[in-house]
């Protein structure tokens, strides 16, 4: 008489739809991380799951070799620790600069005439579509002796100031310094900050600002009390899209950085490629993952919330 609703047969297709990408991700995304973790607690040349645990008398015994982790912390020259710290530092600076430059940029883009905006958007996207490697390489040309930007900076006599603050090693030598690295990273990641900010700011209801003006707020006050708080989601999205990947940057420090800008991505690569010490590389990777877990969680939460709002 009464039918308890069972899942209708026509829903079984969904197992396939979800299953394929899920399986793909589990095999090629998650499993590799576990293997990295495995490597990190093994010795060079002896990497097998059997090396981690052994079963004797029905009891599982773990034989984790933490040697690599100890090396990272106890290294007398603090190579690894310094690389982690400088990576975090440079990532933070890059994020701050991208925000400083990108926020007004996105703001004024969103306020431009409606007919202009698609063109402006395209102009921002265009560099993004051209190879980022080439554009970073281009900065080498710009900052090398005789390059346009190098000449400009010399003409403005800024190099003395930069040398004094330690951003460049000596007056006139802009390449392979923290200065060149930060410029390169900021340049590369700027579109990643502008786009989410623009997406957020372009949806801002201007009538809110009209209401604020009507109630007596100056444009400056309205900006700080209304526009900025409402664009918080865009700021967080942009910041995460810049901060997290820049920690592990490899290409830019290799091309534009110098000895004092060693970043953890480079350390990881050299352990892997030069020293061929895959376990050590894995350990570096694991610590790096641990470092970004918190920002990654923030990013994930933001993504989930953004999706909730749209449905």
């Amino acid at each position: 008489m009464s039918v308890v609703s069972k899942r209708p047969a026509w829903w079984r297709g969904r197992t396939v739809v979800i299953g394929i990408p899920f399986a793909w991700l589990l095999v090629f995304f998650l499993a590799p991380f576990l293997i990295v973790a495995d490597y990190s607690v093994s010795e060079m040349g002896a990497v097998r799951p059997e090396n981690i645990y052994s079963v004797s008398d029905g009891v599982v015994k773990l034989a984790l070799k933490y040697a690599n982790y100890v090396t990272i912390v106890a290294d007398p020259e603090h190579l690894y620790l310094r690389a982690y710290v400088s990576s975090l530092k440079f990532a933070a600076v890059t994020t701050a600069l991208c925000l400083l430059i990108g926020y007004p940029f996105a703001y004024f883009m969103a306020r431009a005439r409606a007919s202009l905006q698609p063109a402006l958007l395209m102009l921002v996207m265009l560099p993004f579509w051209t190879s980022f490697l080439l554009r970073v390489y281009a900065w080498k040309g710009l900052l090398e002796d005789g390059g346009w930007v190098a000449q400009l900076l010399l003409a403005l006599h800024v190099d003395g100031l930069l040398a004094a603050t330690g951003l460049i090693s000596a007056p006139g030598k802009f390449m392979y310094t923290p200065f060149s690295l930060v410029i390169g990273m900021t340049y590369t990641y700027l579109p990643f900050m502008i786009l989410p900010l623009y997406a957020n700011l372009s949806k801002l209801d201007l009538r809110l600002l009209e209401a604020a003006a009507d109630l007596g707020a100056t444009p400056w006050q309205a900006f700080w009390r209304i526009t900025v708080p409402l664009s918080k989601a865009g700021i967080i999205a942009g910041a995460m899209l810049v901060f997290i990947p820049s920690i592990g940057e490899f290409v830019t420090p290799e091309l534009l950085g110098g000895p004092q800008t060693l970043m953890i991505g480079q350390v990881l690569w050299s352990e892997f490629a030069s020293s061929n010490d895959w376990p050590m590389a894995s350990t570096v990777a694991v610590v790096l993952i641990l470092l970004i877990v918190v920002p990654l969680a923030i990013f994930n939460k933001y993504q989930a919330e953004a999706q909730e709002k749209r449905t």
Binding site: W10, G13, R14, V17, I18, I20, P21, F22, L25, L26, F28, L30, A31, P32, F33, I35, Y39, P104, Y107, A112, R113, A114, P118, L120, M122, L123, M125, L126, P127, T130, S131, L133, L134, R135, Y137, W139, K140, G141, D145, G146, W148, L190, L206, E210, A213, P245, G248, F250, V251, L255, W269, F272, W278, S282, A285, L288, L296, F299, N300, Q303
Partner: protein, 300 residues
């Protein structure tokens, strides 16, 4: 729409805004312009301009290493784009249509993570896994099929780079398709079901045409991402499988090299043309649609 104008624009704010935008675009395009400019410089030093020349472009024609890299990169990019769009659409579909399924948070996390994760981690982890799998295949005797499988897919080369790129690009494809899927009203699919279409028919006849633009965008995006990738390719390449970015990277490390500039200019030109054409075409389609909507509202 007239309220879109900056509401309180004391002249200072508008001028400041225009100035900022101008400076920003200058910053964005300066490197590109310099790349193009120096590809015509006879000297390889930026400080000296010895004369206009097309030599570097001529040399490109016989630059085997670069051309081989280009060809390989195009192959991989094509495969990556196709694969990522396929997987990404499935993933986007899963996330949008099925609100509740076990492991959804994990699934969503894994789908989004490659967007921000440092590529060195992705590259290293994938490589280690492939090596581990390969090792476990080494021991037993596999026979010709097994050998072929291990050699082609698991030994480092085109197959592994493709795998790595797919991992990175699927995330981007998912985001693009997901955005479009979410904007599609559910009632359209319900109407199709109501009229007698089975779920797969609904997807093929209704959903797919409506997201076709997003699919195209996702394809182009993943294609260009794959074409440009350095880090993952670095980890996963093998002998004889050097992609174009890797060629450029190794040359760039050694110093400035005008052959790179020449290649860069070629790429930039092609991309610029495609993006401009694409944007114009989209803009025209939008304008046409807006005009039709206006006509429908006035007349009817």
């Amino acid at each position: 729409m007239s309220t879109r104008r900056a509401f309180f624009s004391p002249t200072f704010a508008t001028r400041f805004g225009k100035g900022w935008l101008f400076a920003g675009f200058l910053f964005l395009y300066l490197p590109i312009v310099s790349l193009v400019a120096y590809s015509f410089n006879a000297s390889s030093l930026p400080s000296v301009w010895t004369g206009f020349t097309l030599d570097w472009y001529r040399k490109l024609g016989s630059d085997r290493e670069m051309l081989a890299g280009l060809w390989l990169s195009l192959e991989i990019a094509f495969l990556t784009a196709c694969g990522s769009v396929l997987l990404g659409t499935l993933a986007a579909f899963s996330l949008v249509k099925y609100k509740r399924f076990s492991g959804r948070t994990l699934f969503s996390g894994m789908v989004n993570a490659p967007l921000v994760m440092p590529e060195v981690i992705i590259g290293l982890s994938l490589l280690l896994m492939l090596v581990a799998v390969q090792k476990s295949f080494d021991a037993p005797d596999l026979g010709p099929v097994g050998r072929w499988f291990v050699d082609s897919l698991l030994s480092r080369g085109l197959g592994t780079i493709w795998l790595g790129h797919m991992l990175l690009c699927t995330a981007y494809a998912t985001v693009v398709v997901q955005a479009r899927l979410q904007d599609m009203p559910a009632s359209l699919e319900e109407a199709a079901l109501d009229l007698g279409a089975k779920p797969f028919q609904v997807f093929a006849l209704i959903t797919l045409p409506m997201i076709s633009q997003a699919l195209a965008a996702a394809w182009l995006l993943t294609f260009s991402l794959s074409l440009d990738d350095v880090v993952i390719s670095n980890f996963l390449n093998g002998p004889g499988s050097t992609t174009m970015p890797l060629v450029i990277f190794s040359r760039a490390r050694l110093g400035l090299n005008p052959s790179v500039n020449a290649m860069a200019t070629v790429i930039i030109t092609i991309v610029a043309i495609c993006v401009t054409l694409g944007s114009l075409w989209i803009a025209r389609a939008e304008r046409r649609r807006a005009a039709e909507m206006n006509a429908a509202q006035r007349g009817g």
